[in-house]
Symmetry: C2
DNA sequence: CGTATCGTTGAAATATATCAATCGCAGTGG
DNA sequence: CCACTGCGATTGATATATTTCAACGATACG
């Protein structure tokens, strides 16, 4: 993938942003990729990068959906995050990727050389802050997820997951699940059966309605929120 | 705490570091606090900061041990990390702390104004990179912990925990546990009883020997490693 | 030396996993 | 157009790891 990428990743004009420097106060967000990066398409289940590979590129989802994950030797998988359009991923401070990344469905990804961003950061503190801010955002998500995995029940996990998706698209009447039950299970630290049963249960309680297995309608936002903890 | 800190946190000379700028390649670590910060002492179980409080200070453990954590409304607690001497914590990109922090035992903490670091970062890309690097390190730890909480058995969790502590002090013949069984349980997503039983079991299997409940001798590093997954 | 706190152990309960069967839908080919 | 196939999702029955509840033991502290 890296080799293939190297040739297709044409880096366009670098536009150093000017504006108020932002180390002092939170200012957000600011389009790191503006005018940068090459667009690539990944098929369903195609690997974008693997754990331990050189982290020479940074990615942003243009369309589709991506999962990042780790696997143990015996195949147990923990999904770290689901990335949706607009999300940046694969940005590492160190040399290598800490997780693998795969497209969940056919996805368009904008790819940018990390060094291009680093060079910008060298000169513009605002870019430096933006890079840091992305990592900090990721950390925040990971830390909330620790609470979910360490201390929440199966039902609370699923409800929290749906709540998070719903919060992301507040105006959408339905939550669209791009990922399989297995993906959700590996994200929530459960089995597919438990995820499935929990959906059925939430539906029986009138909290949600399933329209096919990939569309979830939230019947009562309040009831769903109560289920999150 | 913040008010109390404000008066005692005398910021000494700021020494902007000069040297090779490091956005391009991994270079590590570099003493952010050199010449900065005030020393404070926190008693056992004293709060250093609370979740949601303004993140105006950054902390480094000089001696002792610190836990960071989140709590749910009903009291369930998830410990995010244990910080040991040399560790930096409380550094946030956003305005507020995402977790609370408490001293586990009487601890000396070096406290530094975040703005002092931000001002440095404004001028020195190296400082900017160092701040980012700290956050990225934290993210890395969080992501490994996700795998532990989501996919590992009780025994694997405890073994992984011991392994990590042991790796941190490779030459020490004994692992010193500064934290209670409850702290470990809340870190590992288990109950105190399960943690206790697992210690007993690992001891029965000849992997470790307990010398009192706070000292662990690793009898077979290989056996311990095998238990980690 | 008594008391409180923390840790350990045991027995029982339970949430979730595991194993296994069926269902349902999408794609395929007759 | 409709059976056929395959894969993911659901449901059921059972197993099990971990929790919960409870008692006891050890250790530190005043």
């Amino acid at each position: 993938m890296s080799a293939q990428l190297a040739q297709s990743a044409v880096v366009h004009t670098l536009r150093p942003m000017v504006g108020p420097t932002s180390w002092s106060r939170e200012s957000e967000p600011f389009d790191l990729f503006q005018g940068l990066g090459a667009r690539m398409t990944f098929d369903r289940d195609a690997e974008i990068y693997g754990e331990g590979e050189a982290a020479d590129f940074v990615y942003r989802v243009a369309s589709g959906c991506v999962r990042t994950y780790k696997v143990l030797a015996d195949g147990r998988r923990q999904i770290g995050d689901f990335l949706l359009p607009g999300d940046v991923f694969g940005l590492e401070a160190g040399a290598d990727h800490l997780l693998s990344a795969e497209a969940i469905c056919r996805s368009e990804i904008v790819v940018c050389r990390r060094n291009a961003l680093f060079n910008l950061a060298q000169r513009s503190p605002e870019v430096g802050h933006a890079l840091w801010s992305l990592t900090a955002r990721e950390l925040e998500r990971a830390q909330s997820h620790l609470m979910l995995l360490g201390r929440k029940s199966a039902c609370e996990r699923v409800a929290t997951f749906l709540q998070t998706l719903s919060d992301r698209f507040p105006e959408d009447p339905e939550i669209c699940l791009h990922m399989s039950r297995q993906d959700m299970a590996d994200y929530l630290g459960l089995t597919i059966e438990t995820v499935s049963r929990t959906f059925t249960q939430l539906q029986a309680e009138g909290v949600i309605a399933l329209h096919g297995c990939r569309k979830v309608e939230v019947l009562s936002r309040q009831a769903l929120r109560r289920k999150t903890y």
